[in-house]
Symmetry: C2
Subunit: 521 residues, 2 copies
């Protein structure tokens, strides 16, 4: 074994072993890392005819109305491939759309610096990521909404790493506005790559940022450029500027990542009644059109590059114009999008979202509605699944921890052993043995199974009222806050080879000295 | 028209008209009364083979192990019908079970004193009832758990009447322990029948109580005895004493109500790991066996009498033995029971439940899990859908109001207009009209629809953080408390003819003077 082989082995293997050892002494007992499989048949409000009508409307938007691509390079690529171009307006026929969309794989993997954290997008998996991009922060100690800082961002990244039910890192869990915009991406990516070993995301906010992040992910993985390009090691998510527009930096990042074969997620933000029709079917059709044309662009650039169709179709409060989340209309829009994602053979992204300002009952019922919509729609990637408040304007560690309790329960919900009907599970002998006057606590059947029979929460309090009261009568967000502190105290960085850490650090300093990225976006 | 005809007409018609008029000036804007239709295809964890295995296990419990019927009259009826009787143990063959269960209707109506509040149990309807039977009460003003009183019970009954999303009255929303047990049923039924005009429930806790309640419901409806017997005007719910037992008073009430053709709900309380096997399939099979044998008894007594199979299969916390609710295991048990209820052609009851002690985030995620299990299982009657805390030991008005906000959202979720794909809904012309640089607020398409396009909450706060904070930074349970006070201030009894009210009152006084009911149950 050469020295460099040994180093690679240590990098990859040592980390995992160390990691596995630590878990036993963690602040809480949590479920192990796994990629949950969503067994439930999707909820499908649209009839087959409704699916065809939705498809036809989506195609007519692309054929007759067109989408503005505010990026000359993208327009030229689309023109050459056969689209009808009129200034920035691009129209494309349904045959072309279906041909290119058909090149995108139904599932794919993304391999982060720790290969044990590789995720599969598709194949009935449902995976969860942290809240992304709120400019503000709230916690129970601060007690109000404040601007995000690097420290807050680092703390939320530690939660992202800590919880096994979080499968990928989204965008910045809170925007660290105390860092200068020109070099913020360098500092946060350094934090992300050293504090977590999970799949990374890059914002498509200018060529320098995208290139810097790809380079840092490559360095962190100990990869050559060829190794990086050989398969997805990260992903980006772009949003259209609804209605009917893709802007320059998003398209630029999209094309850069496509060329290097990385994961591509497009998520139109179509609020019905504001940036999309007030009727949900119209809002979904518009969202699909905006998403599919970006996927066509990616497939022209690199046939077979993995693409995910996202949905963020919700509705506004028609009294105030404020966006609302986890609404009945949001749920049905997500389910309809799921039907269409299957129609197009694409993996799908949705979100865990709420309009509530604090981690209370409203926050949880709204978030539950969005998470059930994700399950019901057959969503593969759930963005913002932990920590989101105020329609995405606030990140909260207590909400993060409350959400992770729910995510663990949903993950357990998907384990087929619960609905096992083997003779052992039907337990007729035990029912006969206990008879009408006994109980099941003491039976061998129970004794053999009780430690693993049921989900054990880490945050839910199942004590009776009196025991709960004498333990301090602590409500859920306060309990979450205490856990947050325990987890931070307990946190250890995932292992990283010292040489790689130094190379990353050197890269950040070099790029900082070069001035970072332009800040005109 | 005779005088008595006119009085009948006034009783029934006047009430409805008066009621309709009041709604416009209510404390909150709520959705109208309706019987929601659950369009979602059920979630079915069991394969067809799994269904057959579950059925076979259920039948073998009835055939080989048997159920104890602690009521000689019931045993004699079952013996005569062909069951194998051994003391109190009754066994019955699957052919007999399937024959009698097949006589129960797949759907039926219950007509309360206000015929506009008639409900249909079955036919894909999902209906919600108030929390039933907690001995204790909690509200944000009291701040701790206290024993229930008549006043608390009356206040919760007012919420039951007030909210259009509550379709039927369950048992006492809190047990008024300040009322003597011998006459408590008379006082509470007087309160229930005067404060609400919705479908009534009777506890099967002794012949006198059951007969008194049937008589009071008959009087309140202005019905002759024959009219009362002609169709269901009320219902009872009995619980088996798991494992494998039905006790005397439950069976007595069950048989009395069966003879008079009223609604019958049987709900075994099978906590996996305590009163049932630790494995969910075993717990469900035992629950089904305990339920089906009661339905056989009812069908022998009165073929075709409406019966509902209930489920209350959850799990215990294996660390403490405490019951847990809204767990992943609870959800799957409810879904499996739904599959079996369809197999047997029976309407189904489940619940809205949680283990949480206060109306916080945990309360809502646990309740959401149980409500989604109800939807996914094809449940027709959702007991305890509003106001339940601490595993059913506490009733809370704030939780009641928070739950009603969720129930309204679920009711809206079921309205097919959300997933309409007509040309109007797809809105291609509007998408073309707005183009890439406009917004949809001002279009005619939006203007024509915006007042009714989206669900409007009465409790959720969709303001941004700053507006929410300057309005007092009020968390959800405190907002619910304020609404509770407003609703009580605003509440008016539903109309009742003075002569009927007097007759009811006279009945209560006569029965009180006779000593009420024995209190040995």
């Amino acid at each position: 074994m050469s020295d460099s082989d040994a180093m690679t082995k240590r990098r990859r293997g040592g980390g995992r072993a160390g990691h596995a050892t630590r878990r036993g002494t963690a602040a809480i007992e949590q479920m192990p890392w796994r990629l949950p499989v969503n067994h439930d048949r999707p909820t499908e409000p649209l009839t087959p005819e409704g699916v065809e009508r939705m498809h036809n409307a989506t195609m007519r938007i692309l054929e007759e109305i067109g989408i503005e691509f505010l990026n000359p390079e993208a327009v030229e690529i689309l023109r050459k491939a056969g689209c009808t171009v009129n200034g920035e307006n691009v129209r494309m026929g349904r045959d072309m759309v279906m041909e290119y969309v058909g090149m995108a794989p139904a599932s794919f993997t993304i391999t982060p610096r720790n290969p044990d954290r590789t995720i599969t997008i598709g194949d009935r998996h449902i995976l969860f990521g942290n809240v992304s991009s709120p400019p503000n922060y709230y916690d129970m100690e601060v007690g109000t909404k404040v601007s995000g800082t690097r420290e807050m961002c680092r703390n939320l990244l530690k939660l992202t790493q800590y919880f096994n039910c979080i499968h990928f890192a989204g965008g910045y869990p809170v925007e660290p506005v105390d860092l200068h915009a020109s070099t913020r991406h360098l500092d946060v990516l350094f934090d992300k790559l050293t504090l977590t070993d999970k799949v990374m995301h890059a914002y498509s906010l200018g060529p320098e940022r995208v290139e810097d992040v790809m380079e840092m992910v490559r360095i962190a993985g100990g990869l050559t450029h060829d190794e990086f390009d050989a398969k997805p090691h990260m992903y980006t998510n772009i949003n259209s500027t609804s209605p009917l527009k893709h802007d320059w930096p998003m398209l630029d990042g999209w094309m850069r990542m496509a060329r290097r074969g990385q994961g591509l997620v497009v998520t139109p933000f179509t609020l019905a009644g504001a940036m999309a029709p007030v009727t949900m079917a119209g809002a979904v059709a518009q969202s699909l059109a905006e998403g599919l044309c970006a996927i066509v662009l990616a497939q022209i650039i690199k046939p077979g590059v993995p693409c995910v169709i996202g949905t963020f179709t919700s509705n506004v409060d028609m009294k105030s114009g404020a966006p609302a989340f986890g609404t009945p209309e949001y749920m049905r829009a997500t389910q309809m999008t799921g039907q269409m994602a299957r129609y197009y053979g694409l993996p799908m992204r949705s979100s865990g979202v709420c309009a509530a300002n604090v981690p209370d009952g409203q926050a949880m019922w709204e978030t539950e509605h969005s998470l059930w919509a994700a399950i019901q729609s057959g969503t593969h990637m759930v963005y913002h699944a932990a920590g989101w408040l105020e329609g995405g304007l606030v990140a909260s560690p207590e909400k993060f921890i409350m959400d992770c309790e729910v995510l663990q329960q949903l993950q357990r919900y998907m384990e087929p052993e619960i609905w096992d009907t083997s003779d052992d599970a039907l337990a007729l002998d035990t029912i006969a043995e206990v008879g009408p006057n006994g109980h099941f606590f003491g039976t061998q059947h129970t004794q053999d199974r009780y430690t693993k029979a049921f989900y054990q929460p880490f945050l839910s309090d199942w004590k009776n009222f009196e025991a709960w009261e004498s333990a301090g009568a602590v409500w859920t967000p306060e309990r979450a806050h205490m856990l947050y502190k325990r987890i931070l105290d307990d946190f250890e960085d995932p292992p990283m080879d010292a040489a790689i850490r130094e190379e990353l650090s050197d890269f950040v300093e070099r790029r900082r000295s070069e001035g970072g990225a332009p800040t005109d976006f």
